[in-house]
Amino acid sequence: MEDLLAQAVVAAEEAEVFTVSSEGTLVQFEANRLKYLQTKQQTSVALRLIRQGRVGYATTTDIGERRNLVSNAVETAQFGMLAEFQLPASGVYSPVAVFDAGVVSVANEAMIQLGEEMVASVTAYTPGIICEAEVAKGTVSVSIRNSRGGQADYRKSYFSLGIEGSLVNDTDMLFVGESVSSCHPLSNSGAVAGAVLRQLELAKDRASVPSKSLPVVFTPGGVASALIEPLMAAFNGKTVLKGASPIGNKLGQAVFDRKFRLRDDPTVGYRPSSRPCDDEGVPSQCTTLVEEGVVTGFIYDLQTAAMAHTHSTGNGSRNHGGLPLPAPSAFVIAPGDTDFTEMVQDIKEGLVVEQLMGAGQGNVLGGDFSGNVLLGYKVENGKIVGRVKNTMVSGNIYQALKQVAAIGREAKWVDGFLQTPPIYCPGLSVASKR
């Protein structure tokens, strides 16, 4: 890597080499049975350089291709954007714990057993259900070097358990599922299966809802599927810089309900979304985005921050394969003071939404969401009475989160990148097929 950096600085004023190597094992169950054992190894190198003030960029996974890497990056620099930023010189990184050597030593047999336990528990509860389950583990090593002396190295471990069940009765299909992840080895297959059993229990009976405005409680899964995509776009410094964020000019203003608090936090210990620095070597920080309903910040990488005359928040991400862009590490919505059961008890007629399918397919920038309730329940007189189908829930997050009825007391990690409690919206548009 030092070699490559040395070659690059011959051709450019500044250069940065980003290397990521990963190794993982995946155990897959299909139709209730063990089906696949997979291992994956991958290394990739990205070279970013600044030549005559412009940014050039090339990547490869081919270890023998280093010389071409430099010439490819030099070629793209003729057209590249003007570099407004400076690569970080040697930084001070606060330790963020993301590696547990225990993950490496978990045997295949143990992973298979975890999968078997999840499948056994769900199929015993609901005969006829067909489960797909996954148990995954692995390590990721990241290494960054730049020509200004910046250097960062860290190693991360991850472990995840997940199960999805489909229950088919003639042409009716019910989908349930749960997954958890950590940097520690996980052994709580019972907790994962337990969450699925709760869904199966609540979905046992069927109920129908009228087409009108109704109160809706989003569970953590519901928040992730319905509300998060517009928030991620709106707090992205790049969207703000381009004037395409509805809250871009509302810093310091109350936009959301006073109960709503949001931050980006890559420093939580042993979370797979955490890391000591971002993909540009900028130290991780916890960034407050909404405090008591007031917009307090946005997330930035180096270039976007420089163009917006502010500082990087350590959110430079290369997840999409190109040059770093601002991206959340993990969104954390602060818990409130209401129990989930209290929210349900408060509703005369309404919905609990666990999964809204297709919600992110509309005008995400404008804050719109509209989707089919893939898993959700009808509430009548304070009680969940059954599962709803053929039902759409629609709204706009700037209206829906302006006045929320309550925020839940218990927050949960969903999909690895979001920690959220349930959120109770007093009125959303519901359309249902007669």
Binding site: D62, G322, G362, S370, K389, S394, A431
Partner: protein, 457 residues
């Protein structure tokens, strides 16, 4: 050493394994991209990648090892076999396949990656300028990406197939803003590596930008059931989401209850409805000669005269369902095993003109273009990039974007008119099992659906 040389060495190793079946994929690719976000060029770059995998089957269990370090391949083969043995607990079932030794050179000389970056950038400049010429445009996205990939497939049965494919995608978006209201319109096109096809979208880009501005003053529809007419682009997304995914046999073959509702011969729609998936049409983004299990591409009727008549298979699903293989096992790249996927999926044309279709509607929606779509097999949603009210048989005012949803078991029945104007859309990408976006295309003539559920404000 080229990947072909490496493959030839590997052929000797996988032929001698103690396994029911072993295959390997080797892959080498080059890509380039040009992205504008707003007026400024945001990212321009080149990438190369190399890698491979070995997949082994022992007693019905699969082992899979992927890597991009091409050293010590015999060890990787041994690991894949060991993993398969660890998993296998029953009998291996794969439909019979003739060994194929072939070099597919149809597109070997087509290389969009080699076109100078300056040429690509200039075209993107032109499109971005068109967007920015429109008043009240707040920002834009122009994302171009191309790739050229050489693959080697080899199997313990003696297959050795060399294929090359090129692919281009172009995604554009215009964002308009007024008084804190933000509206966006997108355009997504693609080609099978032919850059010249992307050079003639100037009018469409201008129209896209104008529509983003019009949306700022467009009303939102009230949610509920409507008669909807879909244009060929959106109807193509509809057929992919509403029916295509359900015809992928990996959801069916191990699930007794799904097999019962997906029996061949079941009536799904009117006798005028015919749905086809085929990888055999040259030049479409979902096409190929051999799939990632080395099986020849086919043309498969999924629905014929309204009845379920076929489905898409891998070698394993075909064997376990005792049906003919269709050559639909595809992997997005060497990091994933092949799974059952669509290729180019479309509704065959009927005889109804658009005017006749709209003419009979008192109040309905005309929905065009796509934002996206997804499915849970039974339920699906798809969203229109452009929508208009239909009033008294005429297309009327423009609406804010609409999301439509339905249930496959009654929505296909509700297709009551099929147009005469089949068009294939090359801008799509399909996601399944973490493998996304896989190049596919889909298409349809205009179609009319009665009682379609539409989300609204």
């Amino acid at each position: 050493m080229t990947i072909k040389d490496i493959g030839q060495e590997l052929a000797g190793v996988i032929g001698k394994c103690d396994a029911d079946y072993v295959e390997a994929h080797l892959e080498e690719s080059q890509t380039s991209h040009v992205v504008y976000r707003g007026r400024e060029l945001d990212s321009i770059g080149r990438a190369t990648a190399i890698g491979g995998n070995v997949r082994a089957m022992v007693k019905g269990g699969w082992g899979f090892v992927s890597f991009n370090d091409l050293n010590n391949l015999p060890e990787r083969v041994a690991l894949a076999v060991k993993q398969a043995r660890f998993v296998g607990r029953e009998a291996s079932q794969l439909v019979a396949a003739e060994p194929v030794v072939a070099t597919v050179s149809v597109e070997a000389d087509r290389d969009p990656v080699a076109i100078p970056l300056a040429e690509k950038k200039q075209l993107m400049d032109e499109y971005n300028d068109i967007i920015w010429r429109t008043p009240e445009i707040q920002t834009s996205t122009v994302g171009y990406a191309d790739s050229r990939k050489q693959t080697i497939f080899l199997s313990s049965a003696g297959s050795f197939i060399e294929q090359t494919r090129a692919d281009i995608t172009l995604r554009l978006a215009a964002v308009a803003a007024r008084d804190g209201d933000i509206q966006q319109v997108g355009l997504s096109v693609g080609s099978r590596g032919d850059f010249s096809i992307l050079q003639s979208y100037h009018d469409e880009v201008a129209h896209m930008a104008e529509r983003a501005v019009v949306l700022l003053s467009a009303p939102q529809i009230k949610g509920g059931e409507y008669t909807v007419v879909l244009d060929p682009v959106l109807a193509g997304v509809f057929v992919h989401e509403a029916f295509g995914h359900l015809s992928e046999s990996d959801f069916v073959y191990e699930n007794e209850r799904v097999r019962r509702i997906m029996t061949l011969g079941r009536q799904f729609g009117h006798p005028e409805l015919n749905i086809v998936d085929t990888a055999t049409i040259p030049g479409l983004r979902g096409s190929y000669q051999y799939d990632d299990e080395g099986m020849p591409a086919t043309r498969t009727y999924l629905i014929r005269e309204g009845k379920l008549v076929g489905r898409l298979h891998s070698r394993e699903t075909a064997a376990k369902m005792n049906e003919k293989p269709t050559g639909n096992a595809r992997a997005i790249n060497h990091r994933y095993p092949p799974i059952v996927r669509m290729t180019n999926t479309y509704i065959e044309p009927g005889v109804v003109s658009l005017a006749d279709m709209v003419g009979g509607i008192k109040e309905g929606i005309y929905a065009k273009n796509w934002y996206g779509g997804t499915t849970s097999m039974e339920m699906f949603t798809f969203s229109a990039g452009e929508a208009y009210m239909i009033r008294h048989g005429k297309i009327a005012e423009m609406l804010r974007p609409v999301v439509l949803t339905g249930n496959v078991f009654n929505t296909l029945e509700n297709i009551d008119a099929i147009g005469d104007d089949l068009t294939m859309n090359q801008g799509g990408g399909c996601g399944k099992g973490g493998q996304m976006p896989l190049p596919v295309s889909n298409g349809s003539p205009h179609i009319r659906i009665s009682r379609c559920l539409v989300g609204g404000g």
